[in-house]
């Protein structure tokens, strides 16, 4: 890992990037579901955009514990989208006002609900962009994930683009079938893509001889898989890619941008290291290589 520089990030380095016309002071932002109001102070001066946990049309209690388990160089989680629901979220929208462009991540049980949420968000000027969490079960299709097939991905994206034409729309996909889904999303009108969500995983408790947790794997363990997804997709789509999965250092940020990402999100990595340190490391990397952030993305 790159050593921590004396200078703090930004002052001497051009970290700014542009995401569908939204100017970001740095290419880092929180991954959906990994930065809560209680920890907002970590965002200031570090992140280029704000992204709260996925919101659903109605409040969700979430899954019973255990919800997290450790894995080699990573963790498995099954939170169950615990959230207060769209209306409460919108009432408290100003809580997320930290002077950063606000991305809102949404999920729903049905295509029509996705579209309705976008329509509701259209009225909020403070919302800079919307991220569609397509890894949630599609109740109309027997609980199959929306991103299980390119057809449903296209369906959701098209419906949302129609009700929310004026704001950039990011489709967040899982690794399985990512290239086909990415193409489908872009053709249906997605302005950008967020790659990737957690990878389906299982943790077994050998002592109790039972399944301990069925959830999604994230953290450094999945970094090589995410980099592959970003790289392959960047070769077949036009729009910008937000890379997410396994970032825990400034060098990781550089790797994702080199592989084809315009910006990155930090999730599990922010639980074990300060995002500020990652940004400092990334800034040091840019200085050493005499590059500006925007020059790095899609280097190969």
């Amino acid at each position: 890992m790159v050593a921590r520089p004396e200078k703090i990030a930004g002052d001497s380095t051009d970290l700014a990037v542009d995401l569908c016309g939204i100017p970001l002071a740095t290419p880092l932002m929180p991954a959906a579901g990994t930065l809560a109001k209680e920890a907002l102070d970590r965002a200031k001066g570090v992140y280029g955009a704000m992204l709260p946990k996925t919101v659903t049309p109605r409040p969700r209690a979430g899954n019973p514990p255990p919800r997290v388990a450790e894995a080699p160089s990573g963790m498995v989680n099954s939170i169950g989208l615990q959230n207060v629901g769209l209306e409460c979220f919108l009432e408290d929208l100003n809580l997320w006002d930290v002077g950063l462009p606000l991305f809102v991540s949404i999920a729903a049980d049905a295509v029509t609900e996705f579209a309705a949420m976008c329509e509701r968000l259209a009225g909020y000027g403070r919302v800079a962009a919307v991220e569609l969490n397509l890894s949630c079960p599609n109740v109309e299709h027997g609980g199959l994930q929306f991103c299980a097939e390119p057809e449903t991905v296209a369906e959701v994206v098209a419906a949302c683009k129609e009700t929310l034409p004026e704001k950039p729309l990011f489709a967040k996909l899982t690794n399985e079938g990512v290239v086909a889904n990415a193409v489908a999303a872009e053709e249906a009108g997605a302005d950008g893509l967020t790659l990737i969500n957690t990878i389906p995983a299982l943790v077994v408790d050998a002592r109790e001889r039972k399944v301990f947790l069925r959830g999604g794997l994230s953290g450094p363990a999945i970094k090589p898989v995410t980099l592959r997804a970003v790289y392959e997709v960047s070769r077949v789509v036009e729009g910008p890619i937000i890379g997410v999965g396994g970032i825990s250092s400034g060098e990781d940020v550089a790797e994702f941008m080199i592989a084809g990402a315009t910006a990155v999100q930090v999730g599990a990595g922010s639980f074990v290291r300060e995002p500020r340190e990652m940004l400092d490391e990334f800034a040091a990397y840019l200085r050493e290589n005499e590059l500006r952030a925007r020059e790095l993305s899609g280097f190969i």
Partner: protein, 242 residues
């Protein structure tokens, strides 16, 4: 790092702590390295004691994380103190109930009650199976405590409560022990005496972000999930929806 002691499969770490003064019942996140990504997560551990800028942790060696923390010569990286600890406002007689390694946070609690001039009776369960060294250490570090060997009763979870006798004598109960003991205290205290209970749930972020450390509680009549790392780890018994 000022001291690292081992009692069988338990360990006690002492280190200088120039940082924020901990409340009793708060915890820290502890790890041994920043170079390695495995074990990935730091380990949540209650603040066992704190005085004169020295903090200590008392824990059981369970798996790799605690094994590494207890290892001779290992580095110690601590963040905290974190969470919402015991609330010790009412100045009368209170009772401290502990069991197993979970007695850890009661040392600092006893110390601060003392400082506030609140009298307290301390009852600590000692499992029949507890190793010699461990039992010896407990009686030494909790000199005023009544030790309750759990062979004494058929139902270990109630052992300490039985010994406690009439609950109404106490302004409040403070409990940290095995889950069975905690739920027994919860039930017994209901509608009779205020009780505060120190819980554990697996954690990742420890700052409220991941919603991983879910504890079922009553929120305006509904069963909802609170986060042990920010709304806890200490909860009033009456809000717990176990």
């Amino acid at each position: 790092m000022t001291a690292r002691e081992r009692f069988g499969d338990h360990a006690l770490l002492r280190y200088r702590w120039p940082g924020q003064v901990p409340e009793p019942g708060q915890f820290v996140m502890a790890r041994t390295s920043t170079q390695s990504l495995d074990p990935f997560l730091p380990r949540p551990l209650f603040v066992h004691d704190y005085e004169d800028r020295e903090m200590s942790l008392f824990f059981e060696i369970r798996g790799r994380g605690t094994l590494l923390l207890a290892e001779e010569g290992a580095r110690l990286l601590v963040s905290g103190p974190l969470g919402r600890g015991f609330q010790t406002d009412d100045g009368e007689l209170v009772a401290l109930l502990g069991g197993g390694v979970w007695v850890a946070p009661l040392k600092l609690l006893g110390r601060s009650l003392d400082r506030e001039g609140i009298v307290c009776d301390t009852f600590l369960e000692i499992p029949a199976t507890a190793p010699e060294a461990y039992a010896a250490w407990i009686s030494e570090s909790y000199p005023d405590a009544t030790l309750v060997p759990t062979k004494e009763t058929s139902d270990p979870s109630r052992a300490v409560l039985n010994r406690l006798g009439d609950l109404e004598r106490y302004a409040s109960l403070f409990a940290s022990g095995p889950v069975e003991m905690l739920s027994a205290v919860m039930r017994a205290s209901a509608g009779r005496v205020s009780a505060q209970i120190a819980l554990r749930e697996r954690m990742a972020c420890a700052n409220g972000s991941c919603y991983g450390c879910a504890i079922p509680v009553w929120g305006s009549g509904e069963r909802i999930y609170a986060r042990a790392c920010v709304e806890g780890p200490v909860f009033p018994a009456e809000v717990l929806a176990w």
